[in-house]
Structure formats: structure tokens, C-alpha cells
Symmetry: C2
Subunit: 440 residues, 2 copies
């Protein structure tokens, strides 16, 4: 006997009056006076099936949510059913029976309230079967897709750089170390050096990949494994050219995701998107002044932004400039890393911008020092040993000519979190990692 071809849930309605075969997971089961109403889930959504025949109802006895089923039945219009149609007179085939009751309810999303997050992550394997939860990760996948398409269009070449390094190059305690055939290796905190090196080849490069940070604390913003979008572009006239490209990309990508996922974002209670044609920019000094005036306090002596200023400037930019994206620029020189470019017009600031979205820093967007001698001097000032093998190849790129360049380290997890309006970066990550969690 030939088996009918499978019809996916969203196509069922096209076959009203005919028979179709659907395949999927038993997602909901309701018994009502000898009749069973079931929902079958597939990759497109749900199909409702009305089971009236006693033998068919009997097949469902003892079967739990998750059971993999094939159902052949007649398609009948039904406005109240998902997709506007349901199956009648079904013949059920149990492909994979599930007899244990699942530890969580699949058709109800686990609460994302702070106190339930540990449950959320512990049952992620099953919770991703919830349709509401799936929306988060479909939006995530599409955000990645839109970013790539934007960058392809601007002639950026996607690269894949090594995550296993001979040693920590950007420094610091936050580096994972591993045994590499008896030697010590480290895990890359970012593709920083490699993307700068690759400007020397392609001018414009990007990478979306994992980065590893031995963050010793468990906060709502940090994970020990994150997904970074790294962009680097050469032959830029000034810092603004980099800020404007990263800003424009973020605007276009957000507008697109809000357009193409409008219903899903609404059902996830995502905030309304408020964006202007470009991202407004404020220097850190300006933010201190505006904030101090508005809040009857004085932060003008502060070097860096204080956390409440990050939140406040986002609200201010939204109200005054109609933009939920805002740049804080001209960070104090104390925040400068050796590969940043100091501001030639003001020795107290560095050409570094932070892109803030809905109160959270989602990207750092600096201009790089690109003169070999100056870079070496800055490394020495930072107490680094420039003859170390970790720097040797990096410095080669500068010694033999790199143009002025800049780029960004853009947190994909944070972008997803804030796009949807979640409260914790881990909610935007399939299987988050922090000091307390290395499973599932």
C-alpha cells in the first residue's frame, strides 16, 4: 500500500474536501464524552484533529504529549481551528509512542520570570517544543540571516578564524585555558586580531561565531560562551563612517525583523520599535551633563557611564530623537585598550563608541590605531611584551601596511534579548553557559 505524501499544517486548508496525511507530535489531547480533540504539531504549526471513531480514540489511550503520529483524514473548514481547517474521520498511526508524562507542559511556555529561569534552562530540551518559545529562536535565526545579507550587500567577506590560540592576547583573567597536546592553549575571547589582519586582504570582513569568556559571575548580561558578530572595515575616513555603518545595519535589520515577524513579536509582548533614520550620537561628557541636569545630581566627575546613565540616555534618545538606538561616544582615555585609537583632537578621550539599545550596550564600535610604531608604543605603555609570539603575527599586518580601520564586537545574544524584550541574555540563547551551568 502506498503511503500518502505528507502535508504540512499550514497547507492543510488548501485541501478542503479532500484527504491528507499529516505527521507530527501529539501536542494537546482533550477527551469530551468519547470524542478526542487533538492538536498535532509540525514545523509550521498545529493541526486540529477530531477523533470520533471508538477504535481510533482507543489508539490514543495512555499516549502522552510528544507521541509522534501520522494522521490521515478529511479536511473540513473550521474557523476556530488553527489554520482555519481541521481533520475529520481520521485514521491514526502511532510512529513513536510516548508513555511517560513529560516533566513540563509542552503547550504552555515556561515563565521567563527571573525566579523561573533555572527551570526554563533545565528543561530547555523539551521547552523548545513550545510554539511560543520557538518564536524566540526563529527570530534569532532570522536576525543572523538579515545581518549577513546586509553585510554581503556591502561587500563584506565572511571569515572563520581560529578559536584555539597559542596564548591570551587581549590579556586578562577571563581566558579559558586548555591542554593542547601537552602545551597550553587558550580559547579566543574574540576574533579581534584576526579580523584586523584580514582587513589587509579584503578591506571588509565579518564573522559570526562563538567567543569564550571566563566570566566568574552570573549576571543577566554575561555568559561564558556567547555569539559575537565581529565586523572590521578598512579605508574609513573617520570614526563616524564606522559608527554609521554599524548603526545603519542595526536599524535595517531591526526594521526588517519587526516587519517580517510582526505577529510573533506582538505575541511575545515585544515593545513597539521606535527608530529614526540614523542613530543619534552623544559623547560620554554630554551624557554626564544631560543626565546631571535632568536628575539633579552630578556625574560630570565620573569617567565612564554609570549604569543608570545607560538606561537614561536610551529613554532620552527615544523621547527626544525618536530612536531606541543611541551611541555613546568619546569614552574617557582610561577605558582605552592598546589597539584603540586615541582621539587626536582631545587627549582625554578615545575614539570608541558604545551602541545602546533599550538600556543595554549591544556593541562596542571603536576605531583602531593603525600606525605600526604608535601601536607598538601603546602596547608597551600597556605593559605588554611585544616580542611575544601571540603578538608577532598581529604586528606583521601593521608593519606591512594597514589602512585606517574600525569595526565592532556585536553581541548577538544581547540583540535577540532586547529585540524581543527579554530580561536576561540567557533567555535568548538555546543552551546558555555560565559559572553555574554547563548543561544541557
Amino acid at each position: 500500500m502506498r503511503i500518502m505524501n505528507r502535508t504540512v499544517s499550514s497547507d492543510v486548508k488548501q485541501h478542503v474536501g479532500k484527504s491528507v496525511r499529516i505527521e507530527g507530535w501529539l501536542h494537546k489531547k482533550r477527551l469530551l464524552g468519547g470524542i478526542a480533540f487533538i492538536n498535532v504539531r509540525d514545523r509550521r504549526g498545529l493541526t486540529q484533529v477530531v477523533v470520533e471513531d471508538k477504535d481510533e480514540v482507543e489508539k490514543l489511550r495512555g499516549l502522552q504529549i510528544g507521541t509522534v503520529l501520522a494522521v490521515e483524514g478529511e479536511v473540513t473548514e473550521e474557523a476556530r481551528a488553527p489554520g482555519g481547517a481541521e481533520l475529520h474521520k481520521p485514521v491514526l498511526t502511532v510512529l513513536v509512542p510516548v508513555t511517560d508524562e513529560p516533566p513540563i507542559e509542552i503547550d504552555k511556555p515556561i515563565s521567563h520570570k527571573h525566579e523561573h529561569l533555572d527551570t526554563l534552562f533545565e528543561y530547555r530540551v523539551l521547552n523548545v517544543r513550545n510554539l511560543q518559545e520557538q518564536k524566540i529562536f526563529k527570530i534569532r535565526a532570522d536576525l543572523n540571516r538579515y545581518i549577513r545579507e546586509y553585510l554581503y550587500d556591502k561587500e563584506f567577506v565572511e571569515i572563520q578564524t581560529p578559536k584555539l590560540l597559542a596564548e591570551a592576547t587581549e590579556g586578562g583573567a577571563e581566558v579559558f585555558k586548555l591542554d593542547y597536546f601537552g602545551k597550553e592553549a587558550t580559547l579566543a575571547q574574540s576574533p579581534q586580531f584576526y579580523k584586523q589582519i584580514m582587513v589587509g586582504a579584503f578591506e571588509r570582513v565579518f564573522e559570526i561565531g562563538p567567543a569564550f569568556r571566563a566570566e566568574p559571575s552570573a549576571t543577566t548580561r554575561h555568559m561564558s560562551e556567547l555569539t559575537m558578530l565581529d565586523i572590521e572595515m578598512g579605508f574609513v575616513k573617520d570614526h563616524d563612517e564606522v559608527l554609521d555603518l554599524v548603526g545603519d545595519m542595526t536599524i535595517r535589520v531591526l526594521q526588517r525583523v519587526y516587519k517580517e515577524h510582526e505577529a510573533d513579536l506582538k505575541s511575545l509582548n515585544a515593545p513597539q520599535l521606535v527608530l529614526s533614520e540614523s542613530v543619534p550620537k552623544f559623547t560620554v561628557a554630554e551624557i554626564h551633563e544631560l543626565y546631571s541636569k535632568a536628575n539633579k545630581t552630578d556625574t560630570t566627575k565620573e569617567k565612564d557611564l554609570i549604569p543608570d546613565e545607560e538606561r537614561w540616555i536610551c529613554e532620552y534618545a527615544k523621547k527626544k530623537h525618536g530612536s531606541e538606538l543611541v551611541y555613546a561616544t568619546h569614552f574617557p582615555i582610561e577605558a582605552m585598550k592598546f589597539y584603540h585609537q586615541a582621539n587626536p583632537e582631545d587627549d582625554q578621550t578615545v575614539l570608541w563608541g558604545d551602541l545602546l539599545f533599550r538600556g543595554l550596550e549591544i556593541a562596542t564600535v571603536p576605531l583602531r590605531e593603525y600606525h605600526y610604531e604608535k601601536l607598538v608604543a601603546q602596547m608597551k605603555d600597556a605593559g605588554l611584551n611585544v616580542t611575544h609570539q601571540g603578538f608577532k603575527y598581529y604586528l606583521q599586518a601593521f608593519k606591512y601596511g594597514l589602512p585606517q580601520h574600525g569595526g565592532c564586537g556585536f553581541g548577538i545574544d544581547r540583540l535577540v534579548e532586547k529585540t524581543i524584550g527579554l530580561g536576561n541574555v540567557k533567555e535568548a540563547t538555546l543552551f546558555p553557559r555560565d559559572i553555574n551551568r554547563l548543561t544541557p
Copy 2:
């Protein structure tokens, strides 16, 4: 004074008779009786500049290849110049002088002969500035892009799964271990478990990302860090459905790259592409027989394919079936891993296919065991402790219902290598890692 906008090399010819400003790297310099002919490289290619004015020639004195320049000059048609035009009466601005002679010649690619590979990798930072070498990594970027577009079109959802794991789950000596806040963690050899888990949510998922293997040897096929395309799809009728999707994807992607990079592939001496409408399939037993007959030997007692059979069946399929892609299927049961599906029709074989391309295995394409009890039994048979936390979440996905599924682990580096006709997987990788090399 306003600076003219930059024109990229390939657009120069559109401005014949007018002045343009180009920016790029000094790529070649030739002095001829007081006149300097220089090539300036940018992301699109080269522009030739004829420098006749003495003061301008003087600016080039002592400057080495790699110097970053801006040149303003008059565009003149010149059929023999790259792009069909060159700049006359130039005014040069040195943006970043390079005064040390580079350790390799940028305008000549380093030989890819086996004995020169170490030089190639040692000078990769500069060698990627060679236009010929760049073609490899542009083709690599586009292969990734075409794969993504093919899979998006087939409703695959891209996922990002963790590379930091609580412990080795697929087992084995080839696992890197690291210190994770005082506990032991391992680096993922593949997203195997996670992609299977995610079938339970999206039916069809894929990931392109790094995988880590503590390969103790340095071969032409292996690296300790590789880029894998992992695909997994549920609700498949049989093994053929998986083989056919992966085969079709590879055919379409190769056809597209040969069409869109025709000139580059020719200049890289890539072989002519020979493909049929689908990938021919041979069981391992059939290959033993065909090979033995053709080579007057007897491999029918062998379990696995011997290396010469991999090479030979590729030639055979090319000659007899017009396909450089070929599947070896029905591997002997001895090769089976616990998550594979044994052949229900023959207890001596496993439903596992290898996709071979030009003599090399580029993907493994198995069907998975998806029944919880059977999987648990297979794990116990393999001597695994099923109560171990590394298996707990994986088994959850099966216990609560997974449909029949299969997928592939596809080596992106190997695909690039064989597409271009390189001899070593490391030549296709920007910064390769093996037991001997952890830099640059």
C-alpha cells in the same frame, strides 16, 4: 580642501577622461627610466598608475609593497592595464608608509606544493594579500553563503549550539579538556546531540561552526579545529531521503560556485566540474566487488573501504555515471556508532553513507536510531553509562518523542579543498590548527 570620494578599482574605467581618487595598497612598483609604473590594490582588484612627474616619483622612494596610498589622477583607457584603464598625471598621498621589505613577495602566490606548505602557513598574514590566494577564501565565503541559502529555502532553521560541554559525550581520546571555573569541561567535537535535540523543535536544523578534535597526527585531511556544517532533519521516510537532500544541496552549491566563480576557478587550476542530476550510490559491498574485479584483487573480505577504493570509486562514478560526487552506503555494522540506525533488512550493515568528492570523504550522512529503548540498549552495548549527566538531556529528547531523522556532518574545509583542487585541507583554511601549529 574637500577630499574627492574614493573610486574602487573596478569602477575606474567608468570615469575615462575624468579625475578620480583611488585608495589602496602599493602592490607592485616598476621603475623605467625615471617613470614609475605602480599597481594599487583594493578590495576589488588592481589599478595601474603611470607616475611621470619627478616629484611624484620621488614620493615613492624607499617605499615598500604594502604602503597605503591615495592617488588622484586622470583616467585613460589602456587595454593592457587591469580593468582596461589606468591613471595618468597622478598626485600621490602616502597614508601609511611601509619602509621594511616584506618577507615574502605579495604579488606572487606562495607555492602550494607540499614542501612549501609550512612557509605558506607561517606567512599567511601577508600571503592573504595575494590576489590569487584571496580567491580561495572568497570561494570559501560564497560556498558557505550558497549552502545557507539552499537550506533556508528548505525551511531549515540555523542554530548555534554550545561548544563548551560538561564532558565528552561522543567519547574518545580526541577530546580537548579545559579548566572551567575549577571543574573539567570539554570542547565539542560536533553539535551531534544538540542538533538531534533540536529536531524535536524545528524538524530541520543546521549549524555552521567550529568543531574541535584532539587529532594527535598531522595529515592532509585532519585539523584540530575544523569548520563543520551540521544538518539534521526529521520525519524522513528513509535513509535515501537524507542522502538525496544532502546530495542535491552539494550538487546545487557546486554548480553555483562553478558558474559564479568560473574565471577564478580556472585561474586556480581547479578541475572541470562533472556532475549528474543526482549522486550515484553504491553499497560498500558493491564497491568491494567492482574494485576487486577491476583491479584483479580481492577486497570483499574487507569491512570498511580501503583508501584506494575511495579514490577508485570516485573515478569509476565519474567515468560511468558522469558524477564526481558519489555515495558509499551500507557501511559494515562494525563501523556503527551508538546513535546510528542499524539496517533493519540486514544486520551486517548500518544506515550510514559517506559522500565522496574527488577521492575524499567530505560528509558522513547517517540515519539515526530514534526509538528511546533501542537507543538506550545500543548505548549500553557500546559500554556507555546512560545515567551520566552528559546523556541525560540527550535521552530526554527521545523519551518524549523524536521522529525518524538523519543528517550529516559535512567538512567545510574539505569541500573548499576539493572544489578548488587543493591537496591539503589546511590550504583551504585561513589559520589552520594541528598538533604542530597553533599560530598565526
